[in-house]
Structure formats: structure tokens, C-alpha cells
């Protein structure tokens, strides 16, 4: 956690920000990237804890939004290009690349990110995109696993994710034992952790749109990951973001790729259903 100035200073900045940024409700003027419209606000279905599902995009200033809306200005594309190169690079004992099996990513990978995490019957657990990529690498290619937060993994999840950009997030929580993982994720979302004794829901369900000191709280949606964060000056995974939140509430964070974070990812994907995939999004 960074050193913070007095509460008063934070309050002044917060007041000033209300006028400059924040969510705007202009339904008729949706953001788009190269003709692909982004649904950044969708009505929540019945039984959903929110009335309106809102992308983190809507909580950012126009300068940050502008970075996401232009693929050249978006520094996340440095990673996308890395992934694109890796897609057709042969690796491992089987002498295969991703392309050997999956061909043109723009066709074969369309919709994949939007449906993650997804129940994997063989593994008997849900697969995140990272899990799926590593399963392909070890089982099909005879290659080494990539580390969760490695540039190689971020590049590939960004490149594969981009193929679903603009498509609605739609996770299937009824297949296999997904419901159990969803339940676990829901429980984690509402469990208070750490010295600050806070749950995800305290900020991202009960207080989105409000300021925590100088930060405008979003709904904590996952539709833009992996995301280029201005703070990181780098692209990062959803699990890195989870860890950041847990560090800040002074909790002992779960590990990237842990069952806890995979369950939380499954629950969050369900909470964000209908929002457009924005990978690679740009956030503060």
C-alpha cells in the first residue's frame, strides 16, 4: 500500500473528480473500437445481485477510455503481438504450434474468452484460459507450462481474448460441477478477509460509483482481462488484480491459479454476463 496523504486532501481530489470523470449513462452513444460496439452497461437478469451490470470502462476518465478505444494507442497490443507471434511458433516435443491444431485464431478462438472459465470434464474442474493454454502446451505440444503471470502467458491470453472482443460474456455454470465452483466463488466474494476485514462485495457491490479516498470504485468486473493497467505500466492477469485487492485489505492473498481464485473468476464471469469482452482493456 502506498503512503497516503491526509484524508482531507483525498477528499478534495475526490470532489474534483466527480465533475471530471465517472460513469455516464449515454445509452445511445456506446463506445466502439474499429466498428465493434462495446456493451458497457447491460440490464441484469432476474436473480442477479445488481440491477445494472457496468463495465469498468464506464468508471474511467476520458483519457483512459481513449487509450482503450484505439488499438495503436493501447499499449496492451504490445502483448497481443507477442501472443500472435507465439500462436504460430512451433514448440515442444510434438513439433506443433497452436496454429497446427487451431488454424486461424480469428475463427477458431472467436468466443473462447467469452465463455471462460469453462468446465473441463477430463480434468474434473473448471478451466480458465490460462489452464486451457497450459493443458494444450503440456498434453498436445509436449512443451513446458507457462507461468501464470509470464509475458508469454499474458500475450497468449490477450491474443486469444481479443478474438472475442465485443462478444457478450456468457459463462455456463450448469455444466459438470460448475455450480459448486460458482457457489464457492460466491461465498468468497462475500467473505471478509484481512486486517481491514473487507469482502469484495463491500466495495464492488455496495459501493460502486463511490470513492474510496481518491479511487472511484467500479463493480470489479472481469470482462477486460488481461488488462493493461496504468498503475502497473504493464498488462496483468485477473488473478494479479485479485491479489492486489487482497494485499490492500491486508489479507494474505491466494495464489494465482489457486482453486479460490478460479472459483472467484467463475463467479465474477457470471456477475458480468452480457458485458462485451474488452480484452485487452485499459484501466487505471
Amino acid at each position: 500500500m502506498r503512503k497516503l496523504p491526509g484524508l482531507l486532501a483525498g477528499g478534495v481530489v475526490a470532489a474534483a473528480m466527480t465533475a471530471a470523470g465517472g460513469a455516464s449513462a449515454d445509452e445511445t452513444n456506446l463506445p466502439s473500437i474499429d466498428g465493434v460496439t462495446l456493451q458497457t452497461r447491460v440490464e441484469a437478469p432476474e436473480g442477479h445481485p445488481l440491477t445494472e451490470i457496468i463495465s469498468g470502462f464506464e468508471f474511467r476518465t476520458k483519457e483512459t477510455q481513449a487509450l482503450e478505444l484505439d488499438d495503436f494507442n493501447n499499449p496492451g497490443f504490445l502483448m497481443v503481438e507477442l501472443g500472435e507471434e507465439a500462436w504460430s511458433t512451433v514448440e515442444g516435443s510434438a513439433g506443433k504450434s497452436c496454429e497446427s491444431c487451431h488454424g486461424d485464431a480469428s475463427e477458431s478462438m472467436r468466443g473462447v474468452r467469452a465463455a471462460m472459465p469453462k468446465w473441463n470434464e477430463a480434468a474434473g474442474r473448471p478451466f480458465t484460459l490460462e489452464n486451457q493454454i497450459n493443458a494444450c502446451r503440456t498434453e498436445q505440444m509436449g512443451a513446458e507450462e507457462w507461468k501464470w503471470e509470464s509475458d508469454a502467458m499474458l500475450g497468449m491470453t490477450a491474443y486469444v481474448g481479443l478474438q472475442s472482443r465485443g462478444m457478450p460474456v456468457k459463462v455456463d455454470i450448469e455444466s459438470g460441477e460448475m455450480r459448486k465452483w460458482w457457489e464457492k466463488g460466491k461465498e468468497l466474494y462475500h467473505t471478509r478477509f484481512g486486517q481491514l476485514d473487507m469482502a469484495c462485495a463491500n466495495c464492488h457491490e455496495s459501493n460502486y460509483g463511490n470513492y474510496i479516498r481518491a479511487d472511484l470504485l467500479s463493480q470489479g468486473q472481469s470482462n477486460g482481462f488481461p488488462t493493461y493497467r496504468l498503475k502497473w505500466q504493464k498488462m496483468g492477469s485477473l488473478h494479479r488484480r485479485f491479489k492486489g485487492c487482497m494485499d490492500n485489505i491486508r489479507a494474505k492473498a491466494f495464489k494465482r491459479g489457486s482453486d479460490e481464485f478460479v472459483a472467484l473468476e467463475a463467479y465474477l464471469a457470471w456477475r458480468g454476463q452480457g458485458l462485451s469482452v474488452e480484452t485487452p482493456a485499459v484501466r487505471n
Partner: protein, 150 residues
């Protein structure tokens, strides 16, 4: 001569007023390093606050990546063009950010980059032309300190 604490304070205040009068449009708060960097561009003269437009967000969401654009009004011909523009961050540990070098081939004296700001502060642009003119602009950028930015 004995000077009481009260008198010393009064003298200090007087000096401050004099400085303010002598350097209109320059901030009192500028450190020696910032003044030296401006002087290095201006050759000791006081830059005219004109012709330079510095565009930066009023509030930066994160100080690690702040977009800035500088544009100078200039014909950009072989006889009269902007040669150099220095960007300074008055409140950073070291004020230098970038120096742009233009040529008549640049077509226009405009550039955009992204910079790091350690805290809320003034960003300054000082521009020099081939005819020896020096112009400047400054803009305050508020940098929000995250409450829980993760």
C-alpha cells in the same frame, strides 16, 4: 544589527513579493533545478507565455501514465521553425521529462507522449525557435493517490 524573528519574517515576506513582481507568470514554487532547466532553454531571458499549448488531463487517474501533448504555433518554414521543446515536471524528483527536436520536415511543432508524475504538480513546456524566441506554457495536473488501487 540585531534582527528579531518577527522582523526576519517580515523581510522574507517582502522578498517574496519582490520575486513575484519580477517574475510574472513564473511560479514561486519552482525549485532551482526547474529554474535552471528553463534558463538553459531561454539563455537567461524570461520566456514569453504565448504560442505554446500544453494539453494534459486536469486529473490523472494514475501518475504512472499521464498523456501530454504540446503544440506550438509556428510556420515551420526553413526560416522560422521551432527547434526544441523541453517538457519539465516541476514536482518530480528530477524535473526533466523529454526534449523534442523538430525540423522544418516535421511539418508542425506538435508532439504527444506519456509521462510519470510523482504527485500533483505543474507541467511546464519551454519552446525555442530558430529565430531565437522562447515561449512557455504550464499546466497543473492533479495526481490522485489511490485509496485502494491494488
Amino acid at each position: 544589527m540585531n534582527i528579531t524573528r518577527r522582523q526576519a519574517l517580515a523581510l522574507g515576506a517582502g522578498a517574496a513579493v519582490v520575486t513575484m513582481t519580477a517574475l510574472p507568470r513564473l511560479s514561486l514554487a519552482d525549485t532551482d533545478a526547474v529554474k535552471a532547466a528553463i534558463d538553459a532553454m531561454a539563455g537567461g531571458a524570461t520566456p514569453e507565455v504565448a504560442n505554446v499549448t500544453l494539453t494534459a488531463p486536469e486529473i490523472a487517474e494514475n501518475g504512472n501514465t499521464v498523456p501530454i501533448t504540446v503544440a506550438i504555433d509556428s510556420p515551420m518554414t526553413d526560416d522560422d521553425y521551432v527547434t526544441d521543446v523541453t517538457i519539465l515536471a516541476a514536482g518530480n524528483p528530477s524535473p526533466g521529462v523529454a526534449t523534442f527536436h523538430f525540423t522544418p520536415m516535421s511539418g508542425s511543432a506538435e508532439a504527444t507522449t506519456r509521462m510519470r508524475l510523482a504527485k500533483t504538480q505543474d507541467v511546464i513546456a519551454v519552446a525555442k525557435t530558430s529565430t531565437g524566441k522562447v515561449y512557455m506554457d504550464r499546466k497543473t495536473v492533479k495526481v490522485t493517490i489511490g485509496g485502494c488501487g491494488g
